[in-house]
Symmetry: C2
Subunit: 351 residues, 2 copies
DNA sequence: GTGAAAGCGCTAACAC
DNA sequence: GTGTTAGCGCTTTCAC
């Protein structure tokens, strides 16, 4: 463990001032002659600038933070890979935290990042606006991915009103809601709509939705696609854990044996649905059709292979990282990536 | 974006010196009276010590680095969750990098961590000893997880000799090889041995091994368990990618239609084997039996459900993090965690 | 028990 | 173009 050369060492060895070394290394102005000389000396001394000094001086850590609910969920694994790929190309460090879909843990992790002066953060948010206030107040550049924080009740109500009006054709499209924070989302509305239409086309009428944390936009889209009145018993929620997902799926199948199709809001929920169906001797797709959000490698391994709503997890991560690295123009940008219904074998005609 | 209070602000507001504030906050000696006062003032100012100053002063970043091959591989997702869980309990940041099983990328990521002065690192290594020399030389505390770096050829030869002697009962057990670096591994030898014995018990004689990067210990165990002479055509390797895994599996099935069982060295390879078998109209387990390393949630969803060698990914990560946080006594510790053969439905008697 | 002061390695004013 | 210098926020001697 030999101690590293500092900028001062390089300056002395090269017979120049530290500022010159700093300039040369960060591409500032310097005569070609000195530049070359300094570079040579630095290389010879195996000098690597320390991020420590730079960070303190600039009062900010380079790189970015990344907060996801659970890295054993393949979709978040894909998302994380996208972020890491982008960060790798710029040599930036990424501090990763797993929230377990718990706002409290999320809050603590935000605090940790603040303490580290990480001022760029990509997050799949779990808490609401209040949870995120400290980060925003501290001036962090935040980009949300995959979903948005839950919003206050009054806003939700306004949305509901909007949705109704939209149904009635009173307003053409979603009212623009000024996003405080840029985000990268999948086109949940289109994805869910396509899936529900597909199921209806197969004759299904009692379609259930199996949701998890952060799936509010997906449920909303589901309600809209199914059309009022929605059978509320067919919309059930689980918390983030696999156990909870299984319990929710199993409970749903048992309480409503009359349902003929289910849309799982995420791959963990889809997994649970397959498991629960098998346990209850329900055949897919003979007894129940299944569409799962997220295309994951194992969807094809199931039997029958699962029909899925694919969303580009890796791309979402990559785009989010790009966005957080150079915060686009004046107002925050929201990127919506397309989804695709991939029809495999888990849906059949209503019996 | 209000700027944060510094230790100096607290000191002034409390009418004490900065040293006192520092002491109080890091549990040093101070009179109960001052302690309480300082704490109150700090709380009132919403003071959060900046890691930047501390890091520079101590010439090291807190927290740790984590290098894995691929976060979309569920096993590494589990491992990462374990590491993050441990780090969360201590409030430490974790800088994560994904190597893609590429020594060059690994090398660059090590460089990045060095530049950040991250001096604790947990890694699923991809490169060899040479790749890891810089980290060790710089005095990093490294803990390897899941596997060890490839070692120089002469050592491998010595191992081969040892293995032969062991087979002949000339020496009782593995010769102790002084590990330079502590590590957390699964008991690959026992896992593979159990699986092979199980397959042999079912009557299988032509058993193949489908390996990936870093599976050398597993192959070695496979060779040992199968016993000489090993049919070399039945031992094939893929690189880290899913495509390569599929190609290897497919090639294996086609070139050796006489094989009756295959052991996949990891879950990505198992996935590929299932896919390739299906494509070639091979029925599992009727035509070919399959055992996969790694228990992942979707193993149960396959049909038939996959028989697996389970290793505790999350625990491995957690233990590795513990190890890297307090580097145990004098000599480096190696922790070996047990594996378990979980028999489901992908193995049947030889036809 | 407490305060003053010296840096940790770097960047950015500012002077030359 | 280049050198000098003043910190960034913190911990840690060293006096008192």
């Amino acid at each position: 463990m030999e101690k590293r050369a500092t900028i001062k060492d390089v300056a002395e060895a090269a017979g120049v001032g530290v500022a010159t070394v700093s300039r040369v290394l960060s591409g500032g102005s310097a005569s070609p002659r000195t530049r070359e000389h300094v570079l040579a000396v630095a290389a010879q001394l195996d000098y690597r600038p320390s991020a420590l000094g730079r960070n303190l001086r600039q009062r900010r850590t380079g790189g970015m933070g990344l907060l996801v609910p659970d890295l054993t969920d393949t979709f978040y694994g894909q998302l994380a890979e996208g972020v890491l790929a982008c960060a790798r190309s710029t040599g930036e460090p990424v501090v990763v935290g797993s929230t377990g879909d718990d706002p409290e843990q999320e809050s603590e992790l935000i605090g940790m990042l603040l303490e580290q002066s990480v001022d760029r953060l990509i997050a799949v948010p779990t808490g609401d606006a209040e949870t995120w206030a400290p980060a925003v107040r501290a001036g962090m550049t935040v980009v949300f991915a995959d979903r948005l924080p839950a919003r206050p009740a009054e806003e939700e109500q306004q949305d509901a009103v909007d949705d109704l009006m939209r149904l009635d054709g009173l307003i053409p499209a979603a009212r623009p809601r000024p996003p405080e924070v840029p985000s990268v989302l999948a086109d949940d509305r289109a994805g869910i709509r396509t899936a529900v239409r597909y199921l209806r086309g197969l004759g299904h009428r009692r379609i259930a939705f199996l949701g998890g944390p952060g799936h509010d936009r997906r449920v909303a889209a589901f309600r809209e696609a199914v059309g009022a009145p929605v059978d509320e018993e067919l919309v059930v929620f689980a918390t983030g854990s696999r156990d909870s997902a299984y319990a929710a799926a199993s409970g749903l199948f048992q309480s409503r044996p009359d349902l003929t199709a289910v849309v799982a809001g995420g791959n963990v929920l889809g997994e649970a649905a397959v498991l629960a169906a098998r346990e209850l001797d329900l055949r897919v797709p003979r007894d129940v059709s299944l569409v799962m959000y997220d295309d994951v490698p194992w969807a094809e391994l199931c039997s029958p292979p699962l029909t899925v709503i694919a969303q580009p997890g890796r791309d979402m991560g990559y785009r989010a990282a790009e966005l957080v690295l150079r915060p686009g123009g004046r107002r925050p940008r929201t990127v919506v990536l397309p989804t695709e219904l991939i029809i495999r074998g888990s849906c059949g005609p209503r019996r």
